[in-house]
Amino acid sequence: MGARILRIELRRSVALWAALVIAATGVFVLFASNEPYGSWMQLVIVSRDIMQLTWPLGLAAGAWQALRERRSKVEELMATTPRPRWQRVLPVANAMAIAAVTAYLVMLAGAAGHVRHIDGYFPLGAIPLIALGALAMVGAVWLGQAVGALLPSPLTAPMLAVVGFVGLAVSPMIVAQDSRDRGAVLLFPYLQGPRDGGFALQMLSTRANLVQALWFAALAATGLAVFAASRPGTRLAALLPVVLGAAIAVPAMPRTLSDAWVEDRRATEAVCTDDEPTVCISRLHSYALDSMRGPAREALSVLARKLPPGPTRVLVGNDGTPGPQPADTLIVYVTLIESTEYTADTLVEIMLDGAGVPPCAGQVGIDPNEPATRELPPEPDPRYVGARQAVTAWLLDRRPPPATGAKEEPEMALARQAFDTLAALPLDEQRARVAAWRDAERACSDGDRLELLVGTGETG
């Protein structure tokens, strides 16, 4: 019986249409407002963030549904039936809840086409985010139905939508006026991503997830109870869940938003290839492993040929700072800029940069692996950079190209000069000098790097 009514309500009520409108709007916004998403986590977080939009729409859909009987002018007729109100409205509330969840999931599935690497890493931390988004949508329609039942006017639904926008879109501005990032924003149905923008590597802490789950569930329960209640007394009692929820959620809330976002350790873990040569990359970028394999093999063989003993494995780092480097590992810091395609040649070049030794801190100007800071980095030393480029060129057997433009960077001239000097020497001497340079670079010792390559007194 219940299932049959539910089926009829799903088909005949506004549920289907509401789900369609919400999902379509959401998909449009997810596609239109952002570049393709670099990771699944980013899509999931953004889909929660745009609940600024979808949540008020859910609210309006609920309110619209609640007015059905009045619109059809059967309100009084229905009120005379002996069946209690909660039994009558439960199926339609369920239908709306199903619609809300469906809308959210369809929206996510539709926007999956906008994820750059659809086979990329799907973090476990995304699952509670999705579940909470769906729960918040259920809360939206039930609250909307409650408000619609309390204020049965044709104006209710559009007004709720607009008031919802005002509340959710303007509230961040008011909250953001505080310089501190308040944890209280977690009480809102939409979710603000981590402040530093590192979407891909973070997830919401268990505590924040639990608090949100409790709060959203309390909101939804109150919405449903108010909608199903028929007497003022029971309606008042129906506020109990939300009061209880607030009483627990507010003190248990993480103090700040940055407390709520924690690092996703699995995302940064290295995954490696099984066969030789071993190429490792963070799980987040594991989709790039295949394209890395060929260049890595080539880079390793070049190093083994020209600068023995060469390293045997390649660790493609993307995030984080260069740490101490074991001699058998080639650590490559490739900043995989999402929108750039890397050819195999470029990758080999990047891997052989400075013979695979990461530059020492503060020597090359802006470090792409460091978050951008306010103060300008120290000016790069052209002799240091020139030496690195000369070594890279020597490994690749490729003379640094002469300047094409009017103005040439000083390090390029130095690099070409050093390359020529180096190439004129006997092979053993070349190898010895580059090895000495590499040792100095690994230890980040002081002293002029260019001198190590071209010999004292010859640089002028």
Partner: protein, 192 residues
């Protein structure tokens, strides 16, 4: 009696509340972009409030009556839009100004047109869906905190409600919507 039958008292109260809300939020929100956003959303709320009045209580009865509906409908939309505009603009004189009067006028005109189009296509009760969805999409596409697109012209026209007051294409878009909405509603009336 015509006014009563079209739910004008409720609408008037709602619009009045919007105006008061605009004034109150004007005191609360300092952020300049936020003020424009609030002004837009309040204009949206106020214009959607006129939607239910665009249909009579009984569709068939209205059709059967020997009244020349088109001019009356056109007058209804125009008067409703002007009233909303007048009330919202009045807040600018009472308190601090939220957004330029020109901007409010443009937005109210365009949104009223959209409501009228919505009434003609979807029926008066569902009419608010059109302006609400459009505005919502624009707000998400052109982020409320950022600057609206300035080129090409079709983007300016699509995001007319968040453009600055001197964007010609946006004004054109709003006027076109207002005229089209009024004409469509005057000719077709509200769908049941």
């Amino acid at each position: 009696m015509y006014l009563r039958s079209r739910g004008v008292p409720a609408t008037a109260v709602a619009v009045l509340f919007c105006a008061i809300g605009l004034w109150a939020l004007g005191l609360a929100v300092d952020h300049p972009q936020g003020r424009v956003l609030v002004a837009l959303l309040v204009a949206l709320a106020a214009t959607t409030a006129i939607a239910p009045g665009l249909a009579g209580a009984d569709h068939d009865l209205d059709r059967a009556s020997a009244i020349a509906w088109p001019p009356r409908r056109a007058a209804h939309v125009t008067v409703a839009g002007s009233t909303v505009l007048g009330l919202l603009a009045a807040t600018a004189f009472v308190g601090q100004q939220m957004a330029g009067t020109g901007q409010i006028a443009r937005n109210v005109a365009g949104l009223t047109g959209l409501v009228a189009i919505g009434a003609a296509i979807l029926g008066a009760a569902r009419a608010p869906l059109v302006p609400v969805i459009w505005t919502a999409l624009v707000l998400q596409y052109a982020p409320p905190m950022g600057d609206p697109p300035t080129r090409p012209a079709y983007k300016v026209m699509l995001t007319w409600m968040v453009q600055p007051a001197d964007a010609r294409a946006a004004t054109v878009a709003a006027v076109v919507l207002a005229v089209a909405g009024t004409v469509a509603y005057a000719v077709l009336g509200s769908r049941r």
